[in-house]
Symmetry: none
Subunit: 232 residues, 2 copies
């Protein structure tokens, strides 16, 4: 049985218990039996081979083998703060960022922004996320944050979050530019007309790293999608 099961409770003395949907899936859908070998993981990056020891009504007891090294998520949780483009481009932005696994999108309020993140717009974005999740098999919704200005984002930034800003003139993004001790990345994408001088000054004063995305002038949604593809 090559299926992987999620352990929601801790292992103890080499044993662990599958509960709820996971147990029902193993027993009722896959017709698992005592003695069957499966693989389990607990979301922390470790995976075990496991043998079915007992089967109860809504739980399955497993005997765990040696934990195997599992590729830990290779990337950081990514928040994109984007000066929303208009109309169809906004819809595309949501669809692509959801597919690519971005954790959270924050509408970025800028001086030259062209689309306002009204409550109705936010609601539309959330519906777009749900549609894209269903389509792409993604099981965690991409969060849609409340609209934020640069100053607000800086004020609310968690200590260990790395902050980047897409800048047409800057050097290409290298993975090494992400601090190894960062626990999250917040990447900003400005409006079509670019950030205003005072906005750039605030970003620079805060030490936000400027990253380029190649030699051409990218549309807002292209820059956001390219950042997502490179950072997720």
């Amino acid at each position: 049985m090559s299926e992987r099961f999620f352990l929601s409770s801790a292992a103890c003395a080499g044993r662990a218990v599958l509960e709820g949907d996971e147990a029902r899936h193993l027993v009722r859908v896959l017709r698992g039996k005592v003695g069957d070998m499966v693989r389990v993981f607990d979301g922390s990056g470790i995976e075990w081979p496991a043998r079915v020891v007992t089967i109860g009504r809504d739980e399955v007891t497993l005997e765990l083998g040696e934990p195997t090294a599992v590729a830990v998520a290779t990337t950081l949780p990514l928040t994109l703060a984007v000066a929303l483009p208009k109309g169809e481009r906004q819809k595309w932005l949501i669809e692509k960022l959801t597919e690519l696994g971005v954790a959270r999108l924050v509408p970025l309020v800028t001086l030259r922004g062209v689309a306002e993140a009204t409550p109705a717009a936010i609601e539309r974005l959330r519906r777009g996320v749900l549609e894209a999740c269903k389509q792409s098999g993604r099981n965690t919704l991409m969060g849609i944050g409340e609209p934020r200005s640069i100053a607000e984002l800086l004020r609310e930034r968690p200590d260990a979050a790395r902050m980047l800003v897409a800048d047409p003139g800057a050097p290409l993004l290298e993975a090494a530019e992400l601090q190894p001790d960062a626990t999250a990345v917040i990447a900003l994408v400005g409006p079509e007309g670019g950030f205003a001088a005072e906005e750039l000054a605030v970003l620079e004063a805060a030490g936000v790293v400027r990253v380029g995305l190649g030699p051409h002038i990218l549309r807002v949604e292209t820059a956001a999608i390219a950042l997502a593809a490179r950072l997720t």
Copy 2:
């Protein structure tokens, strides 16, 4: 006038002629006049400042200034062979791949493809490239190749080109997976329904490297755009 115009005929003795849509756009839409300064590019990577010298019925003569240095491509030339999606998604694909600096797009003919690359479709793709070039400041046109099957691509592959195929189940793409001695990369993206078993067998037999793009099921154009963002 900050608008950029495409030169479809060669410059001669410091002069060049804008024709057709480009000339009409300059004269009728933008109300260009003799003496106006514009910028022109010929798709080869060079850009000139230019002064309007004469305005005819459907053509404009320009006097060219000094050609300006153009950013040389920093990465491997990338060809994407994509099973074209339909309608709007096709238009988006072209716009984004052009912005991101993909060298060439080849419509990939597959068993489960949904859109045929008719001569009219190819012509529409080429117009999309030109529009995106003008918009994004790109000076070399993205090439649109003739439709090709997997077998044809393999047969025509240059010796030093590295060939990849997007595969939902494969490990994430690492830059290191590109042979350091490769002079070009050809990346394949299959149709929404995936490649057929016989197509996968041909790819495997040819040693084409499978690369993943994260845990979710990506739409055709998302996979192509993500590959472009990672490889250009």
